[in-house]
């Protein structure tokens, strides 16, 4: 088992910089997820760790020692590709045993005809066969061993790709969006399986995805990347609860966070759409702010009953999405040309027929970002109290 350390990794393709000095330390046995929008360099980064691509600057350390001079198969890493990259003309058995054949048989034992001369080959092949069967059992591929990849379903191919990585007992698993070709239901199922596999194997996982749900549900820590840089590194809870950058706030969480324009008024007070919140920041008056509110931070209450110390926004219901366990409410803010504000609500919530409500929130639930996108810490304004919300009666 091994830790992985990236030291200011830089990479450009031609004149386009793709990675700009990535520093990242992944602990032994950790499940680290790289998330970020398309094209931000996630695949490039794990290809560098695997040795498929070489970095222009920086170093990769596995288990504390530099591996930059090692070729891909000498690095004790295994990779699961987004396209699975199974060998199309080999059976599942052939696909699963190839990594072991390559590492355990010498060159002359792999050449057709000449290999018949080797007596050692038979025993080695026998033990390889046993290990392949064992992995196939674990992944429920036992009945499929003699099929070709073209004769498998997407989920089965995905498991074969996983199995091909597992047979080598690598120190580090690299996975590039392994679930993105699966349908929604299978993806949810495989999420659980992968998390369990990680616990069972105890190996280090570096997992690339642009699905924030996968990042949140499986990882020990998440590194959110954008344009070749790591914007924030932390546990899923930290990324969700205290996004360091407006891009992180936007990327993590579903439905997406509501972003509203605000500014700093007199006495350090924060103003949201011209309304003063019970919040203070240490920024010069007049500075613009972006104020983020998670859908679950907003509570719809009858208009004019918003508690004094809570933030509140007048709003009108535009659309109601029924997700069963909860409803997603889309509100227009009258008088402001802004995209709809989204809130979560319990299904039993009754709204007035005309749809006019007040959306209230605890001011401390606001995430504040300065114009550069960086998080700004705020404190409760002096003299204010915790708000008491009067909900709709259901």
């Amino acid at each position: 088992m091994a830790s992985v350390e990236l030291k200011s990794i830089g990479k450009s393709f031609g004149s386009t910089p793709v990675l700009g000095g990535i520093d990242l330390a992944v602990a032994d046995g950790e499940f680290m997820t790289l998330v970020g929008p398309s094209g931000c360099g996630k695949t490039t980064l794990i290809r560098i760790i695997a040795g498929i691509e070489s970095q222009d600057a920086g170093a990769v350390l596995i288990g504390g020692s530099s591996i930059d001079h090692l070729r891909p198969h000498e690095r004790r890493v295994a990779m699961v590709f987004q396209s699975y990259a199974l060998y199309p003309h080999m059976s599942v058995r052939g696909n699963l045993s190839l990594p072991l054949v390559m590492s355990r048989l010498r060159l002359h034992e792999r050449v057709p005809l000449i290999r018949l001369l080797s007596s050692r080959r038979r025993e080695t092949m026998h033990s390889i066969e046993g290990e392949v069967e064992a992995v196939a059992q674990q992944l429920q591929l036992g009945a499929l061993l003699d099929r070709r990849p073209a004769q498998l379903s997407g989920g089965q191919r995905q498991r074969v790709a996983l199995g091909r990585a597992m047979v080598r007992h690598p120190d580090v698993f690299l996975m590039d969006e392994p679930l993105s070709n699966l349908d929604a239901k299978l993806r949810v199922h495989m999420r659980t399986e992968l998390a369990e596999l990680h616990q069972r194997l105890g190996a280090t996982f570096i997992y690339v995805t642009h699905d924030q749900v996968e990042a949140m549900t499986m990882s020990d820590r998440v590194a959110m990347m954008d344009a070749g840089h790591i914007l924030q590194l932390g546990t899923p809870t930290e990324l969700y609860g205290r996004p360091a950058n407006v891009k992180v706030a936007q990327f993590i969480g579903s439905p997406t966070i509501n972003l509203l324009p605000g500014s700093v008024g007199s006495n350090d007070a924060v103003e949201l759409l011209g309304r003063r919140l019970q919040l203070a920041v240490d920024l010069p008056a007049g500075s613009p702010l972006t104020i983020g509110l998670r859908p679950e931070a907003l509570t719809a209450v009858p208009a004019n009953t918003a508690p004094a110390d809570a933030g509140s926004l007048p709003a009108r219901l535009r659309r109601r999405e029924n997700l069963g366990a909860e409803h997603i409410l889309h509100f227009d803010l009258p008088g402001a040309a802004l995209p709809p504000v989204v809130a979560r609500a319990p299904p039993e919530l009754q709204l007035p027929a005309d749809g006019h409500v007040a959306l209230t929130f605890d001011p401390l639930a606001c995430h504040l970002f300065d114009p550069s996108g960086a998080r700004v810490e705020a404190r409760r304004a002096e003299g204010s109290r915790d708000p008491v919300v009067v909900p709709f009666r259901s």
């Binding site: 498929i52 070729r71 295994a78 990779m79 990259a85 590492s103 792999r110």
Partner: protein
């Protein structure tokens, strides 16, 4: 009421019939054109085959019939097979085509893989050179090659017949186009599994390139089975002659005016190619359409 119900659908049915007739006509037209082309191309072969069945008198008779009135097939073929070493010519053809093809594949496949999938400085200029090589006919380097082979004392050998064709730029080009579309990730996976580039070529890439290899094999075999120009230059020994050169020797000899025997010999020497093509036909067409080379 019954009459009205009947009257209603008639226009509909008429248009359905019309479209069916139109489709039939266009089908007929297409097939007529294709048939004309097929007849045009097949006629020489059919003529050859039929002439090889006729008696000498009938071949030169003024009133022409395609179907022989009297069969002299046995005499013609017997004459052809006994007076000329036809089987020897065919065997030479096999040895030469096979030798050329094996070396061409051994050289062209790794070269094409390198041009398609490996990154190295000068790759694109090299590929341009390959394309330029496509434009050079064998007649251009014929003289220096002949002089070289002569001074090495290699004239009148199988090697001399095969040597100029060992490097096929066409094969490199064809395979490179084919390998280009092979997924990079599979190659990367093989590298992670510990395969060397040579093993990747032969164990991963080639098994999925069979259509292209079959297509090229047909091209290569046809070209060298039928080649007269180069063997004529380097071979004077009848025992080494490939089919066309053998035919020439045979026609020069006293059988020169016996067209029955001559066409019988030609039939015997053409048959292996036709049979080989019929066997590899499907692969051949796949290979052509998959590489986009026409």
């Amino acid at each position: 009421m019954g009459a009205a119900a009947l009257a209603e659908p008639i226009p509909l049915r008429a248009t359905a019939a019309q479209t069916r007739i139109r489709r039939l006509l266009s089908l007929l037209a297409t097939h007529a054109v294709l048939m004309a082309g097929a007849v045009f191309m097949l006629l020489p072969f059919v003529w050859m085959l039929m002439t090889s069945l006729k008696s000498p008198g009938e071949i030169f008779s003024a009133d022409f019939t395609l179907w022989p009135r009297r069969f002299s097939a046995v005499e013609n073929y017997d004459r052809a097979l006994t007076t000329a070493p036809l089987l020897r010519f065919a065997l030479n053809g096999f040895i030469i085509c096979f030798g050329i093809l094996v070396v061409q594949l051994l050289v062209a496949i790794p070269a094409a893989y390198a041009l398609a999938k490996l990154k190295f400085p000068g790759r694109n200029p090299l590929f341009v050179l390959v394309l330029l090589g496509l434009c050079i006919p064998v007649q251009v380097p014929a003289l220096p090659l002949y002089i070289a082979l002569a001074s090495l004392g290699l004239l009148n050998t199988y090697f001399a017949i095969m040597f100029p064709f060992f490097l096929s730029v066409f094969a490199i080009f064809l395979f490179r186009q084919f390998f280009k579309s092979f997924p990079d990730d599979i190659i990367n996976a093989a590298r992670l599994d510990g395969m060397s580039e040579f093993e990747i070529v032969w164990r991963i890439v080639v098994p999925s390139a069979w259509p292209a290899i079959a297509a090229f094999s047909v091209f290569s075999a046809v070209a060298h089975w039928n080649d007269l120009y180069w063997p004529l230059i380097v071979v004077s020994d009848t025992r080494l002659a490939p089919p066309p050169l053998g035919m020439m020797f045979f026609a020069d000899a006293e059988t020169g005016s016996n067209y029955g025997a001559l066409t019988a010999a030609a039939t015997v020497l053409t048959a292996p190619l036709v049979i080989a093509f019929l066997v590899a036909r499907r692969r051949f067409i796949e290979g052509i359409t998959m590489t986009g080379v026409k």
